[in-house]
Symmetry: D3
Subunit: 237 residues, 6 copies
C-alpha cells in the first residue's frame, strides 16, 4: 500500500500551467502532487562560443531549489560558492533531454536557457522539471514564431519524464518523497512522445535489481509518460 | 503623470497571502503590483554561535531573485561564487528590520531564517520583502506558540517598508521599475506599526536633495506604511 | 558626558594631509581622532566596459581595513575569498558619493579608482573615507589638468560625510568606536558643499527613532560637514 | 567495422595490476586498452560525521584526470576552483557502485576513500575505474584483516562496469574514445558478480533508442562484465 | 653607476619606527628608501590546532600590498579570491625567519601574527618586512613581559634581511625597483644577529651565476645586515 | 648513518624513462628511489597574452601530487578551491628552471606546459620534477623539430636539481622523506650542465647554518647533478 493510497501505476495529480511568468519568453508552473517547479525559458541573443559561425543554436537548463522547498531548510548553494554535484547532474540531464527533441539548426545562433526552480519538493523534482520545461520551451518557440524569428518549429517531438522505483518490493510509478527515501531501486526515465528512450538512469539503493525488474519499471514509466504527453498537449492547446 | 496613472501617494495593489508553503513554519506570498516575493520562515534549533549560552535567539534573512524574475535574464549568483554586494545589503536590511520589532529573549536559543525569494521583480523588491517577511515571521511564532515552544509573543510591533522617490520632479510613493530607473532620488523607509523609524536610506541618483524633500518622502512613506500595516493585520486575522 | 568629554556637536580633531603617496595621482591621509584612512586616487586608461563609446568616464572606490586597524585583529578578507557584505556596502557608498559631485563627461573615457585603506579604526571609517577621498580625487584632477588631460574641473562641488547617533539618549556628532557600539541609533550623512543631501542612512539599533530625532541628527551633521568642507578647502589650497 | 578491428562483443585487452602504490592500503592499476587508471584505497580512522555513533563505516571515491591524460591538454580543475559537473557525476557513481557490494557494518566507524586518477584516457575511464577500484578496495580489506581490524569480509560480491554504445548503427561493447565520440547512444552498466544490476545509465546522443536496443546493450555488457569479474578473481588470487 | 648614485655596498636610508599602531601589541613602520612597510604584531590567545597540548606557541606572518603601493595600481587579491603565489611565498618566508630566532616554548600556547602591509613599494619589500617584523615582535614580547605573561625573552637573537643582485654585471646591495627589474641575478639573504644564515634564495634571471658570485653577494648581505641589526638595537633601546 | 645506508654523497637509484605518455608531445617518468614523478610536455598553439606579437614563446610548469602519493592521504587541492602556497612555490621554481636554459625566441609564439604529477612521494619531489621535466621538454622539442616547427634546438644546456641537507650534523645528498623531516637545514640546488647556478634555496629548519656549510652542500649538489646530467644524456640518446 502506498502512503497516498495510489495504485502502483498511478501518477499523482499533475498540472501544467503555461504563461505564469510576466517577463519570460516561455514559462510553465508544473506540479506533480506537492512537487512544484517553475520553469522559465529565456531567449538570449548569443549562443555559446563553440557554436559561433555554425548557424546552430543551443538549449541549456539550470536547476535550483528554494531553501525551504524541502521538509527542513537547505542551505543556498551560493553560500558554498558552487552548485552541488546533484544540482549539476540534474541540470545536465534536463538540458540533454530538451536538446534530444530540438532541431538546433532551426533556431539560429541563439541560446535558450530554461530555468527550473523548485518551489516545493516532494520527490521527482527532476522529472517534473523536464516535463514542465518542454512546455516553457514550446511557448518560447511560439513567441519567436510570432515575431518571425523562426520559420519552422524547432521541436521534433514531445519529451517528458517520470521516476519509478521498487517500494516495499513492488514496482511503482511516480514516487513521492516518503516512497523515494525508502525505495530499493530508483529509476528515472525520459521518453519522447513517440516512445523512444532519451535517457534511462537506474540505481540500486540496497539490493541489485534484475533485468525483469528494469523492464517492469520501464513499462510503468511508458504508461505514465503517455499521460504526461497528453497533458502537455492540453497545456499548449 | 505616473506610467500606471496612479496618484503620487497611491500604493500599487498589494496582497499578502499567508500559509503558501507546505513545509515552512511560516510563509507569505507578497505582491506589490507585478513584484512578487515568496517569504518563508524556517525555525532552526541552533542559534548562531555568538549567542550560545545567552538564552537569546536570532532572526536573520536571506534574499535572492530567480534568474527570470527580471525583464531580461540575470545570471544566478552561485555562478559567480558569492552573493553580490546588492544582495548582501538587502538581506542585512531585512534582518535588521525584523529584529527591530522582535524580542529575541522570548524565542529561546533558536534561529529563525526568513528566506525572501523574488519570483517577479518590478521595483521595490526589498520593501515588499520586509512587509511580507513580517507576516511569515508572525505565522512562525504562531506555530511555535501552538506547540508551547514560546509563551509570550516575541513580536513587539509590526514592521513594514516602502520605497519613495522623486520622479520627474514629483515625490511619489511605491516606485515601479520604470519609475525607479528614471528617479532622481530613491529612498527606502522601514517603519513600525506605531510609526517609529527603523531605517531610512535616501540616495541622490543625480541631483542632491533637500531636507524639505526628505520630509515629503517620509510623509508619503508614512501614509503607505499605515495601509501596509492594515493589510498585515487582515492577513494574520 | 561623552567618553572624550567632547560637546555633543563637536568633531574630533580632523586632519587632511595631501600628497602622501609617492606613486598615486592623488592621495590624502585623513584622520578623525584615532581613525586614520589612507585614500589614493589612481587614474586608469580604460573605463568600465558599459561606458565604452559614451565619451564618459567613471569614478569608483574600494575600501579595506588593515587586519590590526581594529582593537583586536580581524581576519583578512582574502582568506574568506570575497569582500564582506559590510565592505561592499561601504565601497558602493563612497563611489556613489564621489560620483554625485563629479561631471563624468569631463574626464573622458577613463576610470579613477579611489582606494580607501583604513590604517587605524576608531569609528566613522566610512565617513572619514568619503571626506578624504574627495581630496585625493581633487588632487588627481589637478594632476590631469597639469598634463592637459582635462580642460574643465570635473568636480562640481565638495562632498563630505559624518556619522551621528543617539548616545545615552542624546544626539551627538562624530561617534568614536566606544560611542558607536553603545548608540541607540546610528546615522551617516553625506552632504555637498552647498548643503544638498547626497545620502542619508539611519538605522535604529534598538528603539525606533522619530522624525524629530532624525532632524536633530541631520542638523548636527550639517554643522560638522560645514567644518569638514572648510578643512578640505585648506587642504587643497 | 570498429577502428580497432575488434568484434562487437570484444573487450579491449584488460589488465588489473595489484599492489602498485607503496603507501596505500590497497591499490590497482587498471587498463582497458590505452585507458589507464590508478586506483588507491586509503583507510581513514574517522568516518563521515553523519555516521558517528552508528557503528557503520563508509566507502567513498574521488576521480580526477591528469591534465595530459587526454589527446589535447585539459586544464586542471583546481584552476577553476571546483570539480566539474562531469567529475562529480563520476565520483558519485564509483562510490555508489562500491557501496552496493559492501557491508558497511562490517568495517566499523572508519572511512575508505578510493582515489581513481586517470593516467591515460581513451574512453571508458569511469567503468575502468569502478572495475579497478573494487580490486583496490579488496586489497585494503585484506590489509585490515591481516591486522585484525575486521573479522568478516565486508565485500558481499564483485562489482565491475563497462560501457556499451550504438556505433554506426551496431551495438558494441567497450567503446574507445574514437567510437565514443561518434556513438548514437552511450550506456554504462555496473553489475555484480552474480549478475545483478547496480546501475544503468543510457543516453541518446542523437536519436532516441528503443527498448530492444537497451536490452541488446545490456546483453553485451553482461558478457563483458563476466570476463572482467574473472580477471578480478585472477588479480586477487 | 647605480640610479641613486649609491656605492655598491650601500644600503638606502633605513628607518625603524616603533609603536606606530595604537591597538597592536607590537608595531614597527620600516622604510628602506621609498619602500615602506607597516608591521604589526597581534597576540592571539589560541595557537594553531596542531600545537594544542604541546605547551608551545606559534609565530606566523601575513603579507599584503596596498593597491597603490606600486607605480601603477595593482588589483586587490580579494578580487581574485585568493592570495597570489608570490604573496604566499613571501609570508611563508617571513614566518620561517621569525621562528628561526624564537623559542616557541617560552610563549605558551599562544599565537603571534605579524602583519606586514606594504604602504609603498620600491623593491625589497620582503626583506624590509622581515627586518621590521622582528622589531614589532620584540615589542609584543615586551608587552607580554610587562603583563607577566612570559618570564624569559622568547627571542634568542636578532634576524634581519636584505636583497642583493648583479646589476649591470656588478654585485650590489639593497636593490631598489629600477635595479631589481633589470638585475641578472636576484638574491635574498636572511641572517641572524650572530651572522648565521637562516635563509638564502638566489635566482638567475637570465644567465646562471657562479659560486664566486654567490659568495660575493653573501658578503655584501652580511655587511648590510650588520648595519640593520645595529638599527634594530637602536629602535628597541 | 643514513636510513638507507647510503654514503653521504650518494644519490638514490635514479631512472629517467622517456616516451611514457601516449598523447603528450614529450614525457618522462622520473624516479629518485621511491619518489616517482610523471612529467608531460604539452605544446599549445597560443602563448601567454603578454608575449603576443613579440615572436617569443613561453615554457611554464604545473605541479601536483596524487592524494595517496604520500604516507597518509592528502586532500586534493581542488577541494579547497586553490593550489596551496607550497604547490605554487614549486611550480614557479620548475618553470623558472626550465626557462633558464631555453631560448624562448627559438620556439615561436607557442607555449609548452610541463605537468609534473607526483605518483609517489618520498622526499625531493620538486628536484626530481625539474630533472625529469627537462627530459620531457627535450622530447617535445624533438617532436617539433621532426615536424619542422623549429629549426634550431631551443635548449641551450641541461638543467637538473637535487636536494641536500644537514642530517644528524652531517651534510648529505638527496634526502629521502625520513631524512628530510629530521634535517636541520634543507637546501635545493638547480644547476645547468655547465655547472652554472640557476637557483639556490637554503633554509635553516632549526639552527642557522654557516657559509662553510652552505659551500659543503653546494659541493655535494654539484657532484649529484653531474651524475643526473649524465643520466639525462643517456635517456635522450
Amino acid at each position: 500500500m502506498r502512503p497516498s493510497n495510489r495504485a502502483a501505476d498511478a501518477l499523482r495529480p499533475v498540472t501544467l500551467e503555461r504563461a505564469v511568468a510576466r517577463y519570460a519568453e516561455g514559462s510553465c508552473l508544473v506540479s506533480f502532487g506537492n512537487t512544484k517547479v517553475l520553469c522559465t525559458a529565456s531567449l538570449e541573443e548569443r549562443g555559446p562560443p563553440w557554436l559561433r559561425g555554425s548557424g546552430k543554436g543551443w538549449v541549456t537548463a539550470e536547476y535550483s531549489m528554494l531553501p525551504r522547498a524541502t521538509h527542513s531548510r537547505t542551505r543556498r548553494e551560493v553560500s558554498s560558492g558552487k552548485p552541488s554535484g546533484r544540482t549539476q547532474e540534474i541540470q545536465r540531464l534536463i538540458g540533454r533531454s530538451l536538446r534530444a527533441v530540438t532541431n538546433l539548426s532551426a533556431i539560429g545562433e541563439k541560446q535558450i536557457t530554461v530555468d527550473c526552480d523548485v518551489i516545493q519538493a516532494d520527490g521527482g523534482t527532476r522529472t517534473a522539471a523536464i516535463t514542465g520545461a518542454w512546455v516553457a520551451l514550446h511557448e518560447c518557440f511560439a513567441w519567436m514564431h510570432a515575431r518571425s524569428m523562426i520559420s519552422v518549429d524547432p521541436l521534433r517531438d514531445h519529451v517528458a519524464a517520470v521516476s519509478c522505483g521498487i517500494y516495499k518490493g513492488v514496482p511503482v510509478l511516480d514516487l513521492e518523497y516518503e516512497e523515494d527515501s525508502a525505495a530499493d531501486t530508483d529509476a528515472n526515465f525520459v521518453l519522447t512522445g513517440k516512445g523512444g528512450i532519451v535517457e534511462v538512469q537506474g540505481t540500486a539503493e540496497m539490493e541489485p535489481f534484475s533485468e525483469a525488474q528494469l523492464l517492469e519499471l520501464l513499462g510503468l514509466a511508458r504508461g505514465g509518460i503517455e499521460r504526461l504527453v497528453a497533458l502537455q498537449k492540453e497545456a499548449i492547446a
